[in-house]
Amino acid sequence: MDRDDASAGHLQELRRGTVVLACLLQLRTPDYGYSLLTRLDALGFVTDANTLYPLLRRLEAQGHLTSEWNTDEARPRKFYCTSGAGELLAADLVEDWKRLDASVTSLVRGDRS
């Protein structure tokens, strides 16, 4: 993709808030940090470890995620899972996302007519 720095910045700005939503939805199946990072990456949510891990901790502190150390495997890993409160938050965010999508769509249409 050939974009200048300014549009890259706007794009990043636009996507920033979506990472929270993506985490909450993705973590309905428990997962650990690094795996989540690669899965989000594969889905097109560009984030880095430095952003994602503090975000997970913050969401956990707010009660939107629960965590548990899984020691079954060779290496202990901290698994995160979306809590009930997290589900509610995700529903709210999805609702808003749809509203935004509708608004943008109507704006785009209005632009063309």
């Binding site: 470890a49 430095n50 503090p54 202990p76």
Partner: protein, 323 residues
């Protein structure tokens, strides 16, 4: 054997509070090993993983919600305003006050200036350091304990500058000239150019006139500065122009009297030390010099008086024009 991972984890957790360390240690370690696995194909997976995770102190700060700025946006504007006041008002006062004291204490004017500059540099460092420390601490207080600097409101908007910049320059010029004139007067009294054999200085002006000249000059300097300030704030009016005439007379009349009536304006001891011949009877240039000086004073002060009235008229026209 310590690995890069051990050192990295330690670098992250060492600044964390004791209670959080264990948890953070486990978490960061898992993070690093996972990242290392992800870079399995690289030449040095561990190194690549750490490069991806970046500066450990930055990671620690984001984990622990620590600010990555000394003074954050919440207090920055108050901080900068304070520094501006300290450096544009307090520091010059420190310098002038020190200079005024040192002039009496130090053996020479150069020494006084040096001492005042040294004190001012020292003061500048302190004026920068302590507020910065204070605000860095305030910025780290929990929100509930943040001092209230008052929220902004439209009432705080500055007025549009009502006077052109030249008038600010005139005000500053007058005050600076008054300070310099008093400084020069005090300096010559210290007699740093010539000294008697016992080492005491020889003043340039006749010591018998010293009491009068000093009092007169200080009164004039204060009066001129105050007048310049009032003119700056209120602008020129006919009343101000009349006061201007009085101030000019207060300077010109005694100055001319001193020049023409008292030929011993210059300290005879100073003239001797400098090798000057000031006897009006034998030196033909003395009288013309005094006359020319007097004429210059009359012309300059006269023009200044007229200029005051001209400005008052211009100001009156400017205010009546828009209505």
């Amino acid at each position: 054997m310590t690995t890069l991972t051990d050192r990295y984890v330690w670098a992250v957790v060492r600044t964390a509070p004791e209670k959080q360390r264990r948890e953070l240690d486990r978490e960061v370690r898992a993070l690093v090993t996972d990242a290392t696995d992800a870079h399995a194909n690289a030449g040095d997976p561990e190194r690549e993983a750490l490069l991806e995770l970046g500066d450990p102190e930055r990671l620690a700060a984001t984990y622990l919600d620590r600010p990555l700025a000394l003074i954050g946006p919440r207090t920055y504007l108050v901080y900068i305003r304070l520094l501006k006041v300290l450096y544009t008002i307090v520091l010059p006062i420190v310098f002038v006050a020190n200079l005024a004291v040192q002039v009496f204490v130090a053996p020479s004017f150069g020494g006084a200036l040096g001492a005042a500059i040294a004190v001012s540099v020292n003061a500048a460092v302190h004026l920068g350091f302590w507020p910065t420390l204070l605000f860095a601490v305030i910025d780290r207080l929990p929100a509930s304990r943040q001092p209230d600097f008052g929220s902004w409101s439209p009432d705080r908007l500055p007025d549009l500058p009502s006077r052109p910049r030249e008038e600010v320059g005139e005000l500053i010029g007058t005050v600076v000239f008054a300070v310099l004139a008093i400084g020069a007067l005090i300096w010559q009294q210290q007699g740093t150019l010539f000294r008697t054999d016992d080492g005491s200085g020889i003043p340039f002006l006749n010591p018998s006139l010293w009491g009068f000249i000093l009092t007169w000059s200080i009164v004039l300097a204060v009066a001129w500065s105050a007048f310049a300030l009032v003119v700056y704030r209120r602008g020129w009016t006919t009343t101000m122009a009349s006061i201007n005439v009085i101030l000019n007379l207060a300077f010109a009349v005694p100055a001319i009297v001193l020049l023409t009536q008292r030929t011993e304006l210059v300290n005879p001891a100073f003239a001797d030390a400098a090798g000057w011949q000031l006897d009006a009877a034998t030196q033909p240039w003395v009288v013309p010099t005094l006359v020319i000086s007097s004429v210059v004073i009359v012309v300059v002060c006269g023009w200044n008086c007229v200029d005051g009235f001209l400005r008052a008229r211009r100001a009156a026209r400017a205010t009546s024009a828009p209505s």
